[in-house]
Each structure stands twice: as C-alpha cells, then as structure tokens.
Symmetry: C2
C-alpha cells in the first residue's frame, strides 16, 4: 500500500492517511477483505507516531471502510456502493414529493445582466448611498463596549435598547409604541411570515391589495392561505363591496401597504385610511400594515400610518431598515398589541431563538448618535432630485397614447400601465434596448386579463442613469408599438 504524505499541504497527517486510504478503496486499489499494515508497521513506514495511525484507522473504521479487531490486522470492510462516493452530489431524496414549497409565481427568467444594461428591476438600497463609515464606527463602539457579550445570545424579542429607541422613533410617525409591543424581525418580510404563522390556519382567507407585494403572494401560498383582493372602484377602495366580501368570506387578515405601495408606489389618502380603519374596526378584521418605505416621504405633506390611528388593537405594523439603510442588517420590526407580540416572540424563539445581538446593538448606537436622521435627510434630498428627473423624463419620453402613470410623492417605485402590447414579452424585448424592467403580472393574485403593467424602481439609479434608462425605455416602447401596429 502506497501512501504519500505531504508536509507542505498543511493538512494533518492523520487526515491525509484517512483520505488516501479511502480513495484507494473507492478506486478499487484496495479490495474488500484485503489486509492493511498494522498500526506499528504503517507508523514506522511513514515515520509517524503510532497514535496518529491508530486514530486514522479508527476513523476509517467509524466511516465503515475498515474492520478493526483487537490483535488482528485491519481489513477493508464489505460495503455497498462504494463507488457512489465520487462525483457531484446526486443523493436521492425519497421524500421529495412530500416537500412543501411556496408557489412558484410565473416570472420571466431574471435577465442576465448584460454590460451597460440600465436596470429598473433591482429594488434595494443604492450601495453608493449607504453610510458605511458611521456604521462601522458603531460596530466598533459596540464591540469595544460589550466585548464577548455582543457575540452571545440575545433577547428573543430583540435587544431592549433597540426596541426602546425604535419606539421613540415611531413617535415621529404619530405611532404610540411601547418597547414591549415591538418584536425585532429579520426585515419586514419575517414580520409578515410570523404574523401569518401566528394568526392564520391553512384554508383561511387573507385580503390583499391588487396588485400587491409579490412575496406576500408566495407566503400566502406557503401557508396554504387563500388570497382575496381588495375591491376597488374609480375613487379607490370600494367600501360597500369590501364590507360584503368580508361578511361573506370571513378573511382573517387584511394586508395593506398604505404608503408607497409595492409595486405601484401609490399612497392611500387620509380619508380612505380613516374609512378603512373604521370599517375594519366595525367588522373586527385585523390589519397587517406594511410600512416598508414609510420613511421615504420626501414630497408633499406628511402622511401617517394606519397604526397612528389605532386605538383598538386592530393594526399590526411592520417596518424595516432594509429599504432605507442596509438590507444586509436584516433588521425590521412588528409593532402589535402585547398579547400578539408575546405569542409571536414565542414562535420566533422556537424558530431561531433571537436575531444577532451585535447588529442590533450597532444599529441602536447608529440611531442614538443621530446618524440615521442625517442619512435619511440626505436620502430625501437625493431622491427628491431623482424622482423629479424621473417625472420630467417620463413626460418627455413616454407617449401617453400607450403609457399611463401617476407621479408618486415618495418612495422608489413607479407603475406604468401600457395600452396594447398584448402577448409581447416586454422584459425580454426591452432588454434589447439596454433597459431592464419588471413585468407587473407577478404582483397580481389574478392578473387582470388584457392589461399590461411595468414596475420601475429608481432605488439604484442616479439622475444620469435614470435619464438615459428612461430614454431607452421610451425608444423601446415606441419601436415595439410601431411593430405592433405595423
């Protein structure tokens, strides 16, 4: 038996023995029943301590490659399908048909990012605007102050300091929050998942806007829930139709994004907010309000979340730092009446115990030192300009004969309705003009027949990129429209 131990590779000698013998067996150079040198013999041969070889043999025994018997020489053991072990993983999984999967919402495959493509698809913080330096200082401050404590288990509900800091901040949106009512989550996303986990049973119905946040449709499906859509008339929500729908279908939850909705970028106006609250209170329908870009109001007068009007415990309010600070923090929250927060904390505790304390403590430090407020002010200045440019160029480049849109008062999103273009793969066709967009169909529980929408996100683009990108979009749509008519 020929083993070559390599001192240069930095791998422990015992490990090299195990790997090499295993390979010899796998490749058939050592066969079932064949004898290996005794521990002493091999140790002498390789110039190693006997215990190193002995440990390696024991590991090979535990792995099922060798038979070891006191006083006898080691032998290659009988094993089935030894040759299986090489090559890429192709383990079967006999229970594959039992797996629960979220619905695979039909979506055009994500375009490969060709060089020079301007993407209105991506919806995340612009890395150029992330306040890295003060955050790194906050990380360091926490590590210095807390030492190993910052790397230990934390509070399953979220670090108390962050919760209390967040409760204060929510006051700025007119929301009265107590730190005990707040649960720190992995982004707003997990707040939605936990709420469904805590409040809904398979088969229940949940009311959503149409269109709505695509990931919420996946979550509903994953939880085995039915999506009902909020009836709309010409002037917004049709409250009479809503009331009869609720009485008939008894949904367990209404999910809404009243401010800068994803995908439409729209805001529910104050009177609709009040009517919706009043109706839900009367019908005893709990509301899950997703305020994922609440902070991005940079035009016009303030608009406050439904939660700010909630006196009866009807509203659970989810928010996140992902869309205005660092997505990678994975920190968001759910604000809910205490019994609900307690129950969902118990669910989270059984699930992941707690979110990483270090990131929460650093975020608290960052907030308390005023960096978040400064950052937001800067973000507002930037996006006021970006959105103004967007409006200007849209008016210049898009022909109202085949595109309609509303100018949003904040946020990052625009929603275009296209007239015509039936059967056209818009994502793919527009890419030829150097611009990536998102087809609106995936945001509907039931896409309205014959209508076409595009979602545009300007979150990652500066003024020059927006100007050029929208010019390409305009060119592309004009060309496609001509082709259609031609």
């Amino acid at each position: 038996m020929l083993l070559k131990l390599d001192a240069q590779r930095g791998m422990p000698k015992g490990r090299q023995i195990v790997d090499q013998i295993r390979r010899l067996i796998q490749r058939g150079h050592l066969r079932t029943g064949e004898r290996l040198p005794s521990t002493r013999h091999l140790a002498e041969q390789l110039g190693l301590h006997r215990s190193t070889v002995s440990t390696a043999y024991q590991e090979l025994w535990a792995l099922g490659w060798l038979d070891l018997r006191p006083g006898a020489q080691p032998r290659v053991r009988q094993r089935e399908a030894l040759m299986d072990l090489e090559g890429p993983p192709q383990s079967p999984f006999p229970w594959a048909d039992r797996l629960v999967l979220p619905r695979d919402i039909p979506e055009a495959p994500r375009p490969a990012l060709q060089p020079g493509l301007i993407s209105f698809r991506d919806f995340g913080m612009d890395p150029r605007l992330m306040p890295m330096d003060p955050f790194v200082r906050s990380l360091r401050a926490v590590l210095r102050r807390q030492g190993p404590q910052a790397m230990h288990y934390g509070d399953p509900q979220g670090q108390p300091g962050l919760r209390s800091c967040l409760a204060q901040r929510l006051g700025q949106h007119g929301v009265q929050a107590h730190p005990e009512e707040l649960l720190i989550t992995f982004g707003a996303q997990q707040a939605l998942d936990l709420t469904l986990r805590g409040l809904a049973r398979p088969g229940d119905a949940v009311l959503v806007e149409s269109p709505t946040y695509q990931q919420m449709l996946k979550l509903l499906d994953l939880h085995g829930l039915r999506a009902l859509t909020l009836p709309e008339g010409s002037a917004g929500i049709d409250f009479a139709a809503l009331e009869s729908l609720v009485r008939r279908e008894r949904p367990v939850l209404l999910y809404v994004m009243p401010s800068f909705q994803n995908p439409t970028g729209r805001c529910l106006d104050q009177s609709q907010r009040e009517s919706l609250m009043a109706l839900c209170e009367r019908l005893s329908l709990p509301i899950l309000e997703d305020g994922f870009t609440e902070e991005m109001k940079y035009f016009g007068r303030p608009m406050l979340p439904l939660k700010s009007m909630d006196r009866t415990g009807h509203v659970m309010y989810a928010g996140t730092f992902s869309k205005v600070l660092f997505p990678g923090l994975r920190l968001g929250w759910l604000l809910a009446p205490r019994p609900c927060t307690e129950a969902l904390t118990a669910v989270r505790r059984a699930g992941e115990l707690c979110p990483p304390p270090l990131l929460q403590e650093a975020l608290e430090d960052f907030l308390r030192k005023g960096h978040f407020d400064q950052h937001l002010a800067r973000l507002h200045r930037r996006f006021r300009r970006r959105m103004e440019v967007t409006h200007t160029i849209l008016r210049r480049e898009l022909d109202p004969a085949f595109v309609r849109w509303e100018a949003p008062s904040g946020g990052y999103l625009l929603w275009l309705e296209l007239l015509g273009f039936e059967g056209v793969n818009l994502e793919q066709e527009l890419q030829r003009f150097g611009v990536a967009v998102k087809d609106g169909a995936s945001f509907f529980a039931l896409p309205p027949p014959g209508r076409r929408f595009l979602r545009l996100s300007i979150s990652n683009l500066d003024e020059a990129e927006i100007t050029e990108g929208l010019a390409r979009l305009g060119r592309g749509l004009r060309a496609l429209s001509k082709r259609e008519q031609g």
Copy 2:
C-alpha cells in the same frame, strides 16, 4: 395656547409643536372644537418659518387631532377616547384566542441569579473563551474588502463562500458535502424548524429520543405534530420495538442527537449507529441528525455522524457554530440532499430572505485563516481539564446511593439520575445551597413516573467553579436526602 420650544433638546421644532399640542389636547387643556392660532399667527409668536408650523398642523390633522379647512382656523377635532393615549400600553387584541403558541412546557421559573450562585443551568459558550480579537479582525477585513456589498442582500441559501468552506470542514467528520446541499440557517435551531416546516404536516408523528432536546418538543407542538419516543432496552435502542412502532405509527421523521446528546451528554455507539441507519433505510424513514456539539469530541476515539454513512439520502444533518464559537452569530446549517435543500431555501426565502451576509463573510474569513481550528484545539484542551475535574469531584461528592451518572466523552453536559427526592422542587431547594441546576423533567415528551433527573452544563464554568459548584450540589443533595429520610 402656550407652547414652549426648547432649542437645547435637539428635537426639531415642528416635532415639539406636534407633541405639545397633542399633550394639551390629551390633558384636556384644549377641548373639542376649540380654535388654534392660524399658521401665520403661531409662526410669528414662536419666531418660526410658516412652513414649519404648517407641516406640524398637517401632521396633527393626519393624526386625527385637528380639523383643517382652507381659509378657516384649525380646530380641535372630535375624537373618541382621547384620554386612552397616556399610560402603559394596554391595547386589547381581539384575536388573542386565535394565536398559535408553542406548548409552554412546564418548567420551574428560572431562578433569579442571586450573587455568588454557581450555575450549571446555562448552556452557552463561555464568554471567557470566545476568540474576540481574530473575529473582530475578520469583520474588519470583510468590511474593508467588500465595502457596502457586505451590507447588501445576500444569497438566500447562505453565502457561497461560507458554504464551500463548510463543505470542506465537514469532510473532517467523514461527511461528503457539496456546497449546493448546504443551507445556512440561524443556528441549528432554525434548521430543525425549517425541516419540520418542509416535511411535516399537522397531525404527523415524529420520533424523538427520550429524553430529548426541550426546544424540539416545543417545535413539535408549534407545528401540531405528535412526539413518539424511541424505544430503549437495557442495551440502548430496542430495534425490534422500534420497527414495529414505525410500521404502526408511520412517523415522518426521526430526530436524533447521536453525539453528546442534549440533555444526557451520551453518544450512540458505532454499532447502534449502523443498525439505526440500516433500519431507517429499510423502513424509508428520514433522519434529522442534530450534530450541535459534534466538534466537542475531546476524549477517546473519533465518532462520526450518521450523515457520514448516508449513501441513500436518508439523513439531514444540522449543525451550528453557537455551541463552539459565538452563539450571537446565529449561524448554523442544514446539510441535506439537494431537492430538500432547494425546497427549504425557497421556504427561508419567503420567510427572512437571507441571513446577514456580513456575519457569514466574517465567519468564512475566520475559518479560512485557521482561527477556528486553533480555537477548537484550545477549547478541547480546556474542556478536557474541566470534564476531568468534573468526573473527579462528582466521584468524591456524590453518594452513589442516591445519584447515578455516566462520564461523557466530550461535550458540556452531564445527566444525573437521582434516586428518591420525589415531590421535591430540586431547582429551588438546591439554590439555597448556592447552586443552580436544571430539572430533567422538561426534556421528556412524557416524564417517566417516579424518576428524577438533573441536567448539568459545565459550558460556562472553569475548574474552580466546577469544584465549588459540585461540592455545593453534593452538600445540598445530602441535606435533602437526610430531610427526606428524617
């Protein structure tokens, strides 16, 4: 109306106006219908720009405190229950009875940590042994190298670099892992939760050891699953009884911790491992193997996970860095056949999108630079000594007439069976002797009648603390036993 704006407090003036007017209304100093000064008038009075006051009034309107009509003076609006707003949060939650909750496993209340108490309850990394400096250097290296990218969204399956590094490491335990088969989770805990989420339906049965990991019992309950217990005979698992149980009850999963089990600290021996694998393969029963302290083998010959023998895709293998490095990283993994990993990645993506990339990248850097191996070697040296002391002192202090235990070959845990002590609240009584322990009852799906157990963890205690703590335990048990007999 008397408003006092304070330039020193650092709070924006507009915010101060909103807060103060709201307080005046809440306290009854301003009543429903009462008029407020016009925007211009109040701006002059306070020496502010008119738009500041106007924005504050608009916010008060949006909050429902004021009526604003063009050309008219603002008035205090009619609102119900204004006085509710002060005081601690006591929001009702009308759907409280609908909430799903994990079973509240009866447990003696966690003892308040009296000064000087030595705690064998806590089961977490000893902060004194956490390798902070190299980890902080890894964090810095990643932030320097990646900049904002480290704070952006990451891979829902976990960062590819960490997965590939982990796949290599698992080879050291004889496990053939491919990065695509690995899902990075929030600790082993979330691997368990996700597996149940993906593979089990309410009403299904899951086989667990008895006793087993307490949080698994909570998870089973949360998922609406039935716990079956692995039948044991005098020589370990009773395979005949197990086979007939599986045929009768058709469990969807077997959950085991073959190495340093929590709570008993025991290891399943190699021949039992092999028989268990063979039986599960024959009965087509998937295994969820929890290797949460796999790395803590510091005595005796190597012992490899069931996963190392898996050629048929029967084993899902969960592990974690929580018990050997930093609990607060919240990083663990599930290694499973690819169809399973893919499905659970989709579930996680719908839930929290991805774990924080920064912490994963820093962990990868830490692993690749060899710091984890160095740290483990140090940990092994320390715990070899700590466990040796534990054995010595246990033999000296505990009377085999009323306490039995086995000396574990690694890990942090010991499991004592007490003879007698029926009806005694051991946690509470032993605290009077200055020592905290964990009653074993909460680790059983069905506690065996008339038997008493204690779980001791030495994870947080050095040799001196172990020596003193076990002496106190011995003293306490002797005293309680005397009282029982007296």
